[in-house]
Amino acid sequence: MLGFTRAQAIGFVVMVAVIIIAPGVLYPVFLMKVLCFALFACAFNLLIGYVGLLSFGHAAYFGMGCYVAAWTAKNWGLSVELSILLGGLTGAGLGMVFGWLAIRRSGIYFAMITLALAQMVYFFCIQAPFTGGEDGIQQVPRPPLFGAVSLQSDMAMYWLVAGVFLLGFLLIHRIVHSPFGQVLKAIRENETRATSLGYRTDDYKWVAFVLSTFLAGIAGGTKALVFGIATLTDVHWTMHGEVVLMSLVGGLGTVFGPVVGALVLTAMENYLAEFGSWVTVTQGVIFVLCVVAFRRGLIGELGAALKLNL
């Protein structure tokens, strides 16, 4: 089915079932946050897990996606789907330029350039008038979907977010299992050989980068409309840190890892919030545990134990 292996198909069905049942048990707003971060983490994982590119600056695309979606929904009164799409296109547009600048370098230099560029975006957001500075853009309305379907109730919004997430998830799956994905695999396996076969490997990495930043922007735009707010936290590098942690906890290069990672970390943040800075400490401990003991992350370890590609 859709190029999933059997195990992955089962995993996918389980995931969809959970998405359908969950709002009966948990707060839809919490679940929407999980789904937005899950999409963001999947977008990040597309780069690190399938191309081997470690970006340090994905908060920029996510955050700018937030701002643009919030701003256009509020000031232009655009309908939800258009605002989200514009958020994604903003991520992709930035990604085109930043990717072009960064991809010529490899390894840690690539990472540092993406970080530096993302920091520039952050300072731009502090200065630029349209972001509302420290206040951010607040009280963003949730205009009706396609100008017709009201999204005022959280449940209605939830189904939209679930739809966006699933579309993004399937798009990533398709990318990985496409003729293009096959070339990405070859580049990761042996870039020199791919070059000697005539592939301009930088072009392929760039396209992958832009796709990833597009989805990060979509995730950001969706989140902005769920909460009706876009702020500096969304573009701050700590946001990038969270998404790295989510991917790591779930399992880099796995299909479902980033989703599980997003669920675990968002849940921790929500339910440990009353303990204040203990959240950060716990995150630190988890990070160290992952690096030391569970290199492959939760899903990665599970997959290894079952000898399955999850």
Binding site: R174, I175, S178, P179, Q182, N190, T192, S196, L197, G198
Partner: protein
Amino acid sequence: MNDTILETKGLTKEFGGFSAVNDVALRVRRGTIHALIGPNGAGKTTCFNLLTKFLQPTSGTIRFQGRDITRRQPAEVARLGLVRSFQISAVFLNLTALENVRLALQRVRGGSFDFWRSEEILHVYDGRARALLDEVGLGDCADTPAVTLSYGRKRALEIATTLALEPEMMLLDEPTAGMTHADVDRVVALIRRVRRGRTILMVEHNLSVVEGLCDTITVLTRGRVLAEGDYATVSANPEVVTAYLGTADA
């Protein structure tokens, strides 16, 4: 003039003051098998890296098919029909043999950026890929991951992948190194079969292979061309004998 496919003039590569390739003038005639031999460290692989643009020469020019390719990118050179194999066999280890070859076919025929399509469409290349695998004696390992193939078979797979590009000219860096006798014979027979309509430049240490296969031989020592000619001429050259035996003894 037109029978020269590849020509270098004054080709030089320095690594921090040390000339790995020094003022090399190389002329490869179309349709021939040309050997590049020489003791270890003579600069043969460096030469290959320069020709295929994986390294930028310090000075000198390279012309391929009459075109100056000195400033081109490696992927471009491959697209022009000058394709190399590597001294350390280069295959995509975690892909199957079939997928390895398909990647080359896919590059030539296009559609490699189609991220919205299913990889199922790559099956259109299966027939041609299997034929190529058959040709190099890997017909039975099409669905085997490359990582599990023996050394000799990995080399054969690399050649099949290179052939899939239908290159005008192939550069083979020690295609028989580290192989068993049987494997060497297979590769030699394979090169004989695929040479039709192509030019081959190969680095080879096994002199009986060179003798049986190559039309012209260039001997390189310490980055310089020491001698050039057919096997009889070169092997009778006393300087070559000293250079070769001298290093072989050491």
